[in-house]
Amino acid sequence: MSEKNYLKRVFQAYYKEKREEIPIITKLEKREFGFIPWDKEIMNRHICFKFTEDLKQYLINESPKHVYSSGASYLQPDNLDMDKKGYQGCDLIIDIDVDHFYTPCKDVHDTWYCKECGKTGKGIVKKCTKCNSIKTKSLSWICEDCLKIAKNEVFKLINNFLVPDFGIKDKEIKIAFSGHRGYHLKIENKKIRTLLSEERREIADYLTGENISFEILGLRQDRSNILGLLKENIGWSQKIIKKIEEILTTYTNQEIELLLLRYGLNRNIVKSFINSKRDFQQIISNSKQNIWNLEGFGIKTWEKFLFGIVDDIGAEIDGPVTIDIHRLIRYPGSLHGKTGFKTQEINHDELDDFNPLNENNERLDPIVFKSKENIHKLQIIEHDVPETRIKGKKYGPYKKGDIIEVPHHIAVFLLCREVAKLS
């Protein structure tokens, strides 16, 4: 049996068994559904289900590789013509996925190899470091640390932006582990549903700090002085000053140095900053003045510094997802065809303890195919397969040709990742 057929059967058995537990989203009959089958990487979209039982039966019959539904609701979700679907509004969707931002551990667990010369390496490259060919294949791997960072971004988003600034209520926020490398947030709120793309772009910019204007926030040259931002000013000014205060009071000099170098400031300027640390702290904690005259700092340098700060404050969201009102997102409770993990909904108060790769609470566990014993024999077909830590156990790293014996959930995972075949 081919791997794909095998996985399809595994998924099928799951949907059959868990029929009653498959979550039902709001306005189900008005959502557009999309599915990617196992045999070709093409999305069948414009599908709709009048009744929840129809959806469940579809999952059991077809057991697709990926299952998606729209954030939008439509009068005719199955109309092929977008303009004739009868758009009725869209929830606000926010996607946090480590695929879209840097995490330090990627240098360890993400690998690539060159199809041209066969060179392999770690981290993310645009082209082969040996022969410069762009025909490289990269393999990004799942990792607890990455997922912790992603989870932190979710907290940042909710606690620093959505709740305090946008006044969004906890019960309006639906959080889901994507089943792979990130989280989705869905905000269901009447007023938000009416917002158009352009308006959502403004929200995305606010959440990330993109397109911020320091000049408007108050940064400017006034004769020989540079005027900076003020803590009293509600909004991003306040966020920025608080972050700077945090850096000045809790970071060691060495940490500050690393940070500012990362922001792109040169060594002399970094030195000057550290030397005037105390003075600067005085200045920004004093609401009566905003003269930011530090040696070596002109407007351009301050901007660079502030852009770095803003980048650290802003949430790492995938902007286009938030802006696109017709986007389909992974259906909660469905299985992710690249991992075999379940897209798992989590409440805000459960998120802190949630650990997708080693979850103790059975109800929240995305890893649904489990076995204690090594019940599968597989052969590795990918050059370098990084180590995987799942359920507190290490598997790998593996080399091409390795014959391995692993438990059910690891077998499903490796087969879904297409790095192994049934042996």
Partner: protein, 389 residues
């Protein structure tokens, strides 16, 4: 508190208008108009409508002698009916701009409480504070000034009105937002209401043109109304040449329209890029041209920023001035007489030989640099279609 009816007289676009049994745009206003013209047999209505259109066509910013009487309500309704029937984007834009600007001026004279009342009637989610609340401070030239306002507006309502204004100051990220509300100065709030009013005049466009035909025929049976309509149309014919360049092609963020620029523009842009000074007339031309394409202000400023005598404030002022006045870029004939036509230098086929007009079934010479872009974009879109086929 003002009487709502009083408010409606001043601001007929308020939703409360309905409460006073004035016509709804969905009803057939035939009977209603008949009655109206007989109520004002001395041409007061015509006079006011003409005055309005004339001002809009001449790009006048403000209408002196604006009156808040009953007729003000009728003016509003008739303007909307006319725009619906005329079904002409540039005219609608002109009227919408003028009307909303007048509204802005009027609103600035209102008390805070009245502005709040208006917002409520518009169903905007607003918080009104008396006394005003603080949201920050501003220090300039050693002067400390407390930032305070009487108003906060829900961010969703804010975005709906502000997101299209393409103004850095109005970007959400640059504003004070907390608990779901944006702190907003009265002046800025009124600017948003202006945008609401402007759109009110443009909404007609969504309707299907077919149903309006019968509607139109019917209304034009009314002698007075037909007079107004005809008069406006002929006035429009005269003005049309200038208007036509003002729409259709426009700057879109991320798209590269500059590859379709005509030689005369390319040449000036190149000079600017190289840091050469431009002559006064070159500056005007490029400003009008980019304004006509609806280029964002900062992009235009960017063009000038490389020049030796660049002055940001001055440039901003000039761009805005040109925009306000609605200046139209020079035609090819004018540019030729000014020695600014670069057709020969660039050996440009379109400029030198013209194009074949399918509509007129004849070869036409290029009359205006804006047509150049239209033509290029049209051809470009054809090419893309072919590739897709």
């Amino acid at each position: 508190m003002s009487n709502i009816f009083d408010l409606v007289k001043r601001y007929p676009w308020l939703p409360s208008l309905k409460k006073y049994s004035y016509i709804d745009s969905k009803d057939d206003p035939y009977e209603y108009l008949l009655e109206l013209f007989s109520k004002y047999p001395n041409g007061e209505i015509q006079e006011r409508v003409f005055k309005f259109f004339r001002a809009a066509f001449e790009n006048i910013e403000y209408l002196s002698g604006h009156k808040n009487d009953d007729l003000n309500i009728y003016l509003y309704l008739i303007l909307r009916i006319l725009l619906y029937i005329l079904d002409n984007k540039p005219i609608s834009n002109r009227i919408a701009n003028l009307y909303s600007k007048i509204t802005n001026n009027e609103l600035l004279k209102e008390a805070d409480a009245t502005v709040y009342e208006i917002c409520q009637d518009l169903n905007l989610k607003i918080k009104y504070y008396q006394p005003p609340i603080n949201y920050g401070i501003n220090i300039s030239k050693d002067q400390k000034q407390i930032l305070e306002t009487n108003f906060r507006i829900h961010y969703a309502d804010y975005l709906k009105l502000a997101a299209n204004l393409r103004d850095e100051y109005r970007k959400l990220v640059n504003n004070a937002l907390s608990e779901g509300y944006v702190f907003i100065q009265k002046r800025s709030l009124i600017r948003l209401i202006q945008e609401y009013v402007r759109r009110k005049f443009l909404n007609n466009e969504d309707d299907e043109g077919k149903s309006s035909n019968k509607f139109k025929k019917n209304l034009l049976k009314i002698q007075e109304f037909k007079e107004i309509y005809d008069n406006i149309l002929s006035h429009w014919e005269l003005k049309k040449e200038e208007f036509e360049y003002n729409f259709e092609i426009s700057f879109k963020k991320g798209s590269n329209i500059s590859k379709d620029f005509p030689p005369c523009i390319k040449d000036i842009l190149l000079k600017a890029e190289e840091g050469q000074n431009l002559t006064h007339i070159e500056r005007l031309f490029i400003t009008f041209f980019l304004n006509a394409l609806d280029y964002p202000e900062d992009e235009i400023i960017n063009v000038f920023s490389t020049m030796p005598d660049f002055d940001k404030k001055k440039t901003e002022y000039q761009i805005n001035f040109a925009k306000r006045k609605g200046y139209i870029p020079h035609s090819c004939a004018t540019l030729k007489s000014l020695n600014l036509c670069m057709a020969v230098k660039y050996n440009d086929q379109i400029c030198l030989e013209g194009y074949f007009s399918k509509k007129l079934d004849t070869k036409k010479t290029l009359a205006h640099p804006l047509f150049y872009i239209q033509l290029k974009q049209y051809r470009g879109s054809k090419k893309i279609k072919k590739l897709e086929d």
